[in-house]
Symmetry: C2
Subunit: 328 residues, 2 copies
């Protein structure tokens, strides 16, 4: 079995994903040309097999998600994607078929996000498959949407539905809990798909830039990520858990096993947007999101009680022991 060398591999699988900025991936570096008056938003995520995904997940899904989680960060900052860099540490025994499928998934997400590959590095590792993606996006100067802009009185909103990713991990993983059998086939597919194939909310970027006071993507769970946003903004919040949007499948799972509600609120892998907006900007924010085909739910309000998040469930306060899912 012969495998292509690094240069052949780049030419065959990665050069087609590179835009003009990648110079065909034949030089030592790529080139980014930000438009006049724009700044470049930079974000990076590393993913390790056995930690962030299963080593035997479909290669196309691994690649898609690695890029999607970075695009999700760009979207939350109000940025339009410009390109990304991939470093790939391949474990012993990789096959060309594996790599071809990986490149296919990467190319599909790069095209959906209009985010070409501009460079990278491929090495071998005696350890598990490890990927690192750095993604770039542009925003008009001074307009990156920060975590730190939430003000007392602002409304707290989330996009889409919460908890599907964390529940989907259980559905997709090797040890199926009892409640999984109570879901319909469609429900199981929905949750597993949400875990495996997060869809970055790129269509929301412009609306966030125009109307949000603060935003971040929800990657480590709503409760924990909210705590980070509040800390950065020096504010608190009151959240009505009954208004946190759930998919039909998530609702069915929680009916079957009520303890799952906690997982939905604190588990990772949502890749939805958590944002705050002033009461005045709220109608325009919701309208712009609707025009982009994305639903926003109002789940609470920012308070001046710095760093304190209060959660209400059916009128009673709920306290979370562990706020955030940490991969670290």
């Amino acid at each position: 079995m012969s495998r292509p060398g690094e240069f052949e591999l780049i030419a065959r699988y990665f050069a087609p994903i590179a835009g003009p900025a990648g110079l065909g991936l034949t030089d030592d570096a790529g080139l980014l040309r930000p438009a006049r008056g724009y700044e470049l938003v930079v974000t990076a995520d590393a993913l390790v097999a056995g930690v962030h995904f299963f080593a035997d997940d479909p290669p196309a899904s691994i690649a898609r998600k690695a890029l999607a989680v970075n695009l999700s960060d760009l979207a939350a900052k109000g940025a339009r994607p410009d390109g990304f860099v991939l470093t790939l540490a391949l474990p012993k025994g990789w096959t060309e078929a594996w790599l071809a499928d990986f490149a296919k998934g990467l190319a599909a997400m790069a095209e959906e996000g209009a985010c070409p590959l501009v460079g990278g590095d491929t090495v071998s590792t005696p350890g598990p498959l490890t990927l690192s993606i750095t993604a770039f996006g542009s925003v008009p100067a001074g307009r990156m949407v920060l975590r730190s802009g939430a003000k007392p009185g602002d409304l707290v909103l989330v996009s889409g539905t919460i908890g599907d990713g964390a529940l989907g991990l259980k559905v997709h993983g090797p040890d199926k809990p009892d409640w999984v059998v109570k879901l319909s086939e469609a429900g199981r597919s929905h949750l597993a798909d949400r875990y495996l194939h997060p869809r970055p909310r790129l269509a929301l970027a412009a609306a966030l830039q125009a109307h949000a006071s603060a935003a971040m993507d929800i990657s480590d769970g709503l409760v924990g990520d909210l705590a980070k946003l509040l800390a950065a903004s020096g504010v608190g919040a009151e959240i009505d858990l009954d208004t946190v949007p759930l998919s039909d499948a998530a609702r069915t799972a929680i009916m079957a096993a009520p303890a799952l509600a906690e997982l939905a609120w604190t588990g990772g892998d949502d890749y939805e947007i958590l944002l705050t907006t002033s009461e005045g900007e709220y109608p325009a924010m919701v309208a712009a999101a609707e025009a982009a085909g994305i639903s926003l739910a109002r789940i609470g309000r920012v308070t001046s009680d710095s760093g304190v998040a209060r959660f209400l469930e059916q009128g009673r306060e709920r306290v979370f022991a562990q706020g955030s899912f940490a991969h670290f």
Copy 2:
């Protein structure tokens, strides 16, 4: 033994290395503001313990080198560093003392290169320590120095001395070859230091931008990297190996074991600059390098014999079986 969590770790060790663009590493993304009329050069390298360095190398040296090899790429492209992103996959059993030393080395190189940390990600891995750095630098629009600009008749030059890194790896590694004992203590230190602590030729960037027709850094060996530059430019070259500059220590090693000459010419880890310049620009190129404290040696000439590199040693042609050191 308690270890800090990810957020504490970032605040304690990495936030001090972040410039204003890193936003104190408290947001999801960093921000780069290229000056008007400038473009951004992007380069990335991944390094894996046991592949690119020894797991028990001093942590400060590992960090220094990881950033230095990226800065070396920027320098070769004529770019001034603007910032970098680090993703770090820490193996089981890392200690805070290890990380503190790592951060110290990273901070020192970031300061020397005027290249602040603007973001990143820290994760855990069941495998070996794995780092990935993406570095950014700026060049006036259209002025990135490419691999592809060499023209027949141009002169071929290298900075500094060649082969120290590859010989230094032997000196530094666990199995000391016989010739190592024939070196002086100072000679051994010199070579090991050149392997462990490459010094990116940032001071050469402006001169390359002004006077080089093509350039790249030598990371995978002079012979192999020259082949890449020639291929990108669609030209050939004639190289006089007797004019390839060697350090005193490398010369002593080669006297003791003549076969080492091949290692010096083909081994990796030089992190010197390989460049071409027209006969007309040559005096200005050399003068600008000298003003920057860097010596350049003229080692050959570009020919129109596309893709063919001819090497002469004491008037006779020398053929290299394996051109390039590949980590992959």
